[in-house]
């Protein structure tokens, strides 16, 4: 090494650097190609499309803000947005609270913890469509298990999926059931990361169970809660599968959500420009929600 002259060493070092650059970009070619075709292009092309009227097999026609005007004056759009909001407002907080409660119970070094964890996780790995079919059966007004039990204890049958006032809540119950396990497992990991000495210190200071929960557990898992809140909201605004299977958006559009609205315009009526505009509006709403969330949560979230 010592014998290598300065110039030669520099040349070697330079060629090593170019070699790494070339190899680095070569390794990233598939990523770049995918991102260009299926991420960047769609973002821009969606925007262009949203200013056009285009039935898939007809002419593309420039219509300015027409699609947006039509969307905002369509009461069905507002209804679908309202329904998605109802879904999000109930589903996201409830699923987080229940998951935290279950995770805290499981975290007490309890016997059979792994068995419980497995049980709670089984719905997560199941096909949403298949288990939504099963729940349609459970919720069936005449032959469903749920109503069977209600009548057994002397209550009236409920139109879980046929009563417009109730259908959305049945879907929310299903969604909580389906996704609970993954939130529980995430919370369990977060809880196991809370240092035990904090609890000991709190006990010495005279904190009870509630105090320990309020002043140690809750702040320590707040980054996890925040993450679930953001991801939950993004997902909730795009809910589709379970509604498609369980109610098809009915009864009387009581569960008709905004993703279905976009789906219908794109793939039933082939109004690609209109659907792209709906997609953009949804993306902007999701973006605004995320930003608000970050601003508000920033005050409450505790990072080490």
């Amino acid at each position: 090494m010592m014998a290598v002259p300065q110039a030669k060493r520099r040349r070697q070092w330079l060629s090593m650097k170019t070699e790494q650059t070339v190899l680095g970009y070569l390794c990233l070619i598939p990523t770049f190609v995918y991102a260009a075709v299926f991420l960047l292009f769609p973002i821009f092309y969606s925007l262009v499309l949203s200013f056009q009227r285009w039935r898939l097999y007809g002419n593309q026609e420039w219509v300015g803000f027409d699609n947006y005007r039509r969307i905002f004056s369509d009461s069905v759009f507002w209804l679908s947005l309202k329904n998605a909001a109802i879904y999000a407002v109930f589903f996201v907080p409830l699923s987080i609270i229940i998951a935290l409660a279950v995770a805290i119970l499981l975290n007490q070094k309890i016997r059979g913890m792994k068995w419980y964890r497995t049980a709670y996780f089984v719905p997560v790995v199941s096909s949403t469509v298949a288990v939504a079919v099963v729940w349609s059966f459970l919720f069936d007004t005449h032959y469903g298990l749920v109503n069977d039990w209600l009548t057994r204890i002397g209550l009236n049958r409920v139109g879980w999926l046929t009563d417009p006032d109730i259908a959305m809540f049945s879907v929310i119950i299903f969604s909580i059931w389906k996704s609970l396990g993954s939130n529980v497992v995430i919370y369990l990991a977060a809880l196991q990361g809370v240092p035990q000495h904090l609890y000991e210190a709190a006990r010495i200071d005279g904190a009870g169970r509630w105090g320990q929960f309020r002043y140690i557990t809750l702040p320590m898992v707040s980054p996890t809660t925040f993450f679930m809140l953001i991801m939950g909201l993004i997902g909730a605004f795009q809910v589709f599968e379970q509604i498609m299977i369980m109610t098809g958006g009915g009864p009387m559009r009581a569960t008709y959500v905004v993703y279905m609205y976009m789906y219908d315009y794109a793939f039933r009526y082939s109004e690609m420009g209109y659907a792209a505009a709906v997609g953009y509006i949804m993306a902007i709403i999701i973006f605004i929600l995320t930003v608000i969330n970050m601003k508000v949560s920033g005050k409450f979230v505790h990072y080490e």
């Binding site: 390794c27 089984v122 469509v129 288990v131 690609m272």
Partner: protein
């Protein structure tokens, strides 16, 4: 393990309550599956009788034969497995290469590219649905395996996960291999990849699960029966045999069982994968 004797009564009550709550929850989680399987083995009249029955008098396996006769579930299985395995393989190659570049090589622009990859995770799917469909339409890929596979081969989170994992592998191993005459790609292939089997398995199994259960995209880009994946098949089956609950439960069991078996055997990777998802925050 703490024996019951060493517990004070209050603790005993509390642990009893904890178990009661958890057990009730677990029953709610599992009961729908139990009901799905038992119903799939009942006669129709057993479903419609006012006296609820937990188990069929005699298991009716014919329901499965009928369901499989009315819809090509064998074909659905093949499509689903073929698509899922292809997506997993291509995705792992793309993620592995990208993660290698982003963790082991020094080149200008690397950190910005990494941030860009992370940023794509925030893009909502609603923005992509229409234009991605149009791209496939122009390529004449609608109703082909390409349409089912190619749009799913990228996984930003997978790249992130593998990159983090690669960074924990000591660089001394690379140096030792270089001295032994290994090229950089050989280092990835013969040192980094074998040491990251668990990370690859986690991503692979999650992708496989996502593909097995995916519904919207296959629904949009396929129209013929031969191209359907299992979830789409089930939803079409429901439209056709609505209220024929025994057949529908047989179909649902058909769709859920394989993945549940995989889950029970590879539970570790599922749990790890979800845990890592949470750490993203």
């Amino acid at each position: 393990m703490i024996s019951a004797k060493s517990l004070r009564p209050r603790q005993l009550v509390r642990s009893g309550l904890t178990h009661a709550v958890l057990l009730a929850g677990a029953v709610i989680m599992i009961l729908p599956f139990f009901w799905m399987v038992t119903t799939s083995l009942k006669e129709m009249w057993e479903v419609f009788t006012p006296e609820m029955q937990w188990l069929p008098e005699v298991p009716v396996w014919r329901n499965y034969a009928d369901a499989w006769m009315y819809a090509p579930f064998g074909r659905y299985y093949f499509n689903t497995i073929f698509v899922a395995v292809s997506v997993v393989v291509v995705q792992l190659i793309i993620c592995g290469l990208a993660a290698y570049a982003l963790s082991r090589l020094q080149f200008p622009g690397r950190d910005i590219i990494f941030l860009g990859v992370l940023g794509t995770m925030m893009l909502p799917g609603t923005l992509m649905t229409v234009p991605s469909y149009l791209i496939l339409h122009w390529l004449k890929w609608i109703d082909t395996y390409y349409a089912l596979i190619i749009p799913s081969v990228f996984n930003a989170f997978g790249i992130f996960l593998l990159r983090q994992f690669f960074m924990t592998i000591p660089r001394e191993l690379d140096d030792a291999a270089t001295i032994d005459g290994c090229s950089r790609i050989a280092i990835l292939w013969r040192i980094i990849m074998p040491l990251s089997k668990a990370a690859f398995a986690t991503i692979g199994i999650f992708t496989f699960m996502g593909q097995w259960n995916s519904y919207i995209w296959p629904l949009i880009v396929t129209n013929s029966e031969e191209m359907r994946m299992i979830s789409v098949g089930i939803s079409m089956f429901k439209d056709q045999f609505n209220t024929q609950w025994t057949l529908m439960m047989a179909a649902s069991t058909t769709a859920t069982l394989p993945l549940l078996v995989v889950f029970l055997f590879a539970q570790r990777f599922f749990i790890e994968g979800i845990t890592l998802t949470g750490l993203k925050g």
